[in-house]
Amino acid sequence: MRLETVKDLEKRRKQAIKNKESVPNTILVCGGTGCLASGSAAVADEFSKQLKKHGIDTKVQLQVKRTGCHGFCERGPIVTFVPSGILYQKVKPAHVEEIVEKTVKNGEIVKKLVYRDPSTKQYVEQYSEIPFYKHQTRIALRNTGQMDPTSIDDYLARGGFKGLAKALDMKPEAVLDEIEKSGLRGRGGGGFPTARKWRSAINAPGEKKYVICNGDGGAPGALMDRSIMEGDPFDVLEGMIIGAWAIGSDEGYIYVRQEYPLAVVHLRKAIETLREVGLLGRNILGSGLNFDITIARGGGAFVCGESSALMMSVAGKVGEPRAKYIHSTERGLYDLPTVLNNVETWVNVPVIIENGGERFAQCGTEKSKGTKVFALIGRVNNTGLVEVPMGVTLRDLIFNIGGGIQRNREFKAVQTGGPSGGCIPKELLDLPVDFDRLTEQGSMMGSGGMIVMDERTCMVDVARYFLNFLMEESCGKCVPCREGLRQLKGLYDRIVEGYGTMEDLKKIEWLAEDVRIASLCALGKSAPNPVLSTIRFFRDEYEEHINLKRCRAGVCKALTKLVIKDNCIACGKCIKVCATDAITGEKKKVHVLDQGKCIVCGSCVEICPVDAVQVEPASKAVEVPS
């Protein structure tokens, strides 16, 4: 049924809430990519089967829903119970019958599936009491994991489209004022004030204006955009419709990475639903706003996360950026004024309008308002998506929410901001995280990837990794980026192969500076960040590679050999994981590693329970090629 007016919308919401309340209990099975990979679809199927078998009516007593990502991907598949708030982790189909018999029928807890805090050894039954969730403030992630992402009624029942209804009742200028008051800054990387961007597009001349959602999320380590698009697609679309009202646009695009097929499916379904009910199309809720959204799939190019390249790609062209003497807010897609915001920015918009900009601004730091979603990943215990107020310290994030470093190893650095960001060392763990503080330290917020590194991570290798990535992804249009990165990568290759000199290090520093100054777009301009920040904070590791031909982390293969020490307990785990059968040994005898067969992959180092496999410098005869 078409929703002609706000009254119709509220009527449907009432009905949706009533329907929801008529079934007192719900089981939410996480259907995010992480949990799906761990087999959550089979778990959901098994629930349906078992409920039927036990004669539980899913229309009256209890229903099973597949939701978006819960964020706690490390512990997936995640199953939660509403309203009791119980969370089960690592649920397998084989557990389902027991859950139905005990928890569903008798309200008993299945203890083996309850989260157990690794540090306190306490069992934590309640979702909201688990440290990973307890310290979070969820605004952008308010709906993901809590509802069926393809159901508009679920979205309405959770307060969806309240922001839109309110916005359409306001003058566009007043909507813009609220955004300004909120202090919202772009969540995609640069942190540009959203209101200023919108105002600039409003003031720009042009018979037509565009609204675009950047769902490229192409930076390695930024999965929040994916999770939001998959788990809460209506929210993204609602934000865009409000944006269209504010700037006077009638056409929008949502650019989604081709690697995110589930996001495309859910968005497509959500757009179709909104067209059916009249929340996209002509005269939305009787306001006079005409607006529609089209999905544009990316083709797999990192540079298309850059605004001008993205707009080229939407137009079906090669995604090369242009020099931005004129901002894309004035001349963007098809040379017309365009507002482009990232997924996380758009989902903040409905909340700001619904609750007012001032309330939003209460959270965060002086210049960075609200919350930020981080992808807490790498060598940290609790990997996943977390949302915290701006200004939280790195220590809180990594140790309180993240539960510290895997295997109790030593924290070395955290990399923020993706390939354009930098590495922050442990001396700066108490740094409050906001846009400006990270930039001061030579890194950046980026889209919020937070990759934790420990003593088994080589900082030279990390810098080389990013250079290699950016070299591959450079579109090739401007010389400093195309050639500069290639030369830098060559210099790094010499260092990790054991041929590096201090002269090379000097060359790296000045070449990186040139690339930063002379490149055309943000990809090249920020490419030296990983290089310069690792040299700044981890110069000793570079010098070790160059002067001692040693990689202390045991990552650079040419400089490393692995040996098994006498504290080996002969458990045989390393024999199992060795891909080249280089390790031999029997019970009660120290295992032996054949250097001739070893490919220094390090699997044995990772698996050894007593750290008997040690990293040693390879005795490398240093021959500098002429």
Partner: protein
């Protein structure tokens, strides 16, 4: 084995009819063709050029610029090893080395029997499960070199549940 002829043309026409005949539809159309044939046959691109009125040179430019497209036939099993940052620091390199060794092909190549294509991709957005390997649409989490044989379907049970390690 490359695909040519009337069946390609009719499939392409079918796909093009779902989109407005303008340049902005190009990337969507190429995705659909790719999903159909697992690569972009030359005849298909020529037909797209005619249908959209976009020069073949420009289509070639787009088809080679974006990593998601291939002008060469790809294998039945598309093995994508994620080399995003999270996967990298958790040892994705080792998986790439091992799978190259097993299949005898390098990233970007297809085995001569058209069984496997190996690709290294920058991030599949599943960082919490690093390192990740994706075979067609199935995601394998916390993959290690010794899992590669099973993941590639070269022995062992492909759906065998991996021990994820408990709390203790």
């Amino acid at each position: 084995m490359t695909l040519t002829g009337a069946s390609v043309i009719s499939t392409v026409d079918q796909i093009c009819s779902n989109y407005p005949a303008k340049e902005s539809s190009l990337i969507e159309i190429l995705h659909d063709i790719s999903a159909e044939f697992r690569y972009l046959p030359a005849d298909a691109l020529r037909r797209v050029s005619e249908n959209l009125g976009v020069p073949i040179s420009r289509i070639y430019g787009v088809a080679t610029f974006y990593k998601g497209f291939s002008l060469k036939p790809r294998g039945k099993k598309l093995i994508r090893v994620c080399e995003g940052t999270a996967c990298h620091v958790r040892g994705a390199d080792r998986n790439i080395d091992e799978i190259e060794r097993l299949l005898g092909i390098h990233p970007g190549e297809t085995s001569s029997d058209l069984e496997y294509t190996l690709e290294v991709v920058s991030c599949v957005g599943a960082c919490a499960m690093a390192p990740v390997v994706v075979v067609n649409d199935k995601y394998y989490r916390n993959a290690s070199p010794s899992d590669m044989r099973r993941i590639a379907g070269m022995g062992g049970d492909a759906d065998e549940d991996k021990d994820e390690g408990g709390d203790e």
